[in-house]
Amino acid sequence: MNLAIIGCGGMGRMHAQLAANCGFKLVACADKRKENAEALADAHKADAVRNPMAAIRRADVDVVGIMTPTPTHTQYVVAAAEAGKDVFCEKPFGRTVQQCKEAIAAVKKAKVKLFVGHVVRYFQEFEAMRQQVADGKVGKVGFVKLYRGGIFPVGVDGWFRDYEQSGGVTFDSMIHDLDWLRYVFGDASRVFCQALRRTTPECIDYAQATFRMKSGVIAKVIGTWAHPSGFRVEAEICGDKGMIQFNSDETPMKTMKRTRPGEVPGMIVPGSPVPVSPYQLEWEDFQVWREGKAQARVTPDDALEAVRMAAAALKSADTGKPVRL
């Protein structure tokens, strides 16, 4: 089980370790920034290459991990499929519905497996909420509210700031909640969305969307890259006999480090320690699927539908009108 990682920034480094924990051997690292590729390669005794296609096509590579900026995803998925490799791609796996369809067609044709990292399905708190709903704790659900975000991400060469490329908070962050929404409550029929996407005087994005699901459920989804610091997730599910709330600010531990003179004081919220990280669970699920034991929790079509929802939200934000899905 040999792995190539394309994109050796923060996400690439994290996924390389998680894959290694699942028994993968990292053999090739590609990044247009040579030092990133070399650093990761050194840590895993792998080869660093400049050209991603060279890493993808290596005969000894079984799986390609794609952790580059969004606009490059589709071309690498297609190349990996054509080379007969299974693919683990960070979300979203394309910037448009059309790109995602092309990627799926290539994967089907090559009979390889494509897993897209919609990791929220593996978060313990979200899985617990899904279970509570399934157990009927709130009765028939009528309303869902999901909130996610914090600071504007930096990214390589500030690629997030180019909203055409990144799709902003809607495409990069809210898409997690859109996938989970559809996973638990089924398909959406229409969306109305407002998205700030400001570039002056500085980059901030704030997206507010209402989805009407085919079941009739109303879902309000908010994504923020407008906060000066921090990161927060909130969820609320209302039914005809109760409601569930989740707030990531309520953590089992908080740390406050005493600062030395001249240091800027800060508060670090490390989140909730869990036995197995949701990102690790993704790799385990992918591997179980590769071994033919069970279908992974996220299918390529699921990932396509999440992109369709995000694209519809942005179309609504652009036109000022509701958009049918």
């Binding site: 028939k140 700030l196 109303i218 309000k220 209302c238 509701p322």
Partner: protein, 326 residues
Amino acid sequence: MAKIGMMSFAHMHAYSYAACLNELPEAEFVAVWDDSANRGRAAAKQFGTSFVGGLEKFLALDTDGVIVTSENVKHPALVEAAAKAGKWILCEKPLAPTVKEAKAMVAACKKAGVGLGTAFPCRYSPPLIAVKDLIASGEYGTLYAANCTNNGQFPGGWFANDELAGGGATMDHTVHVADVLRWMTGKEFVSVYCENGALLHPRIKTDDLGSLHLEMEDGLQVSHIASWSRSESFPTWGDVTLEIVAEKGVIAVDAFNQKLNVYNDDAVRAEWAYWGGNPDLGLVKDFVAAVEGRREPAVTGVDGLRAVEVTVAAYKSARSGRKVRV
């Protein structure tokens, strides 16, 4: 001393306003009128005042002002009758179910030369006042977006019947936040998109939740949830929250989040014991001062009308599936 009467105890806020009248030394709570004699008598007894059954007889009493807290659809007739009788009026929100009626009420009061106020107590909430002051200071720069909620528990009774309420949660719980935003920003609403329905209480004859997307002047992007979504087991009545995204930062306010968590084995649910200021007292105090000074209340009938325009447009949007101009 301002002599005040109350018209109907159909709305639960009447009980809070009545308590405020009794708390204010500058007000005299003269009488209660109610089209439900039993309810009116009980309220009069509770607050140590007298009950007067006939509307004409009540309006002929020596009072300076009245507080109208009837079912929403009865506001127009009661306000216009009180205006004709020369009374200063504080009307419960929403001012009226339709824009036409709200305009007629404003005109009738102007013609009669009496002050008309709309009961938007949020303007007297200390946390919301602090946010307004912060925005006014300019410290946070230009406002870009706001994400708001006014959630509540299901009020039941006539609230759940369009024939008496004129609208559901979308109406009941949009007007407060619409007014707060106008008051805080000094901007008017331009358009609204709304999805709503009876989502949590499917048998009611109105909506219990609305999800609104509004645009204010200068492109300010606002979204709002107006709901009766808090379950019976929820520890408090509901909330008013705003997250405001601005040029120089974010301001988040949860106006009634000044509470203790109380766990009492005799109760079926945990409860929040609120210890913050009472916005209703500020509202009633201003009305009493307006009556005494023969001036307009601080929150006017026109403010009530503007909020009605927003909710009426929201219903039009929900029915048509389109964004509607306010």
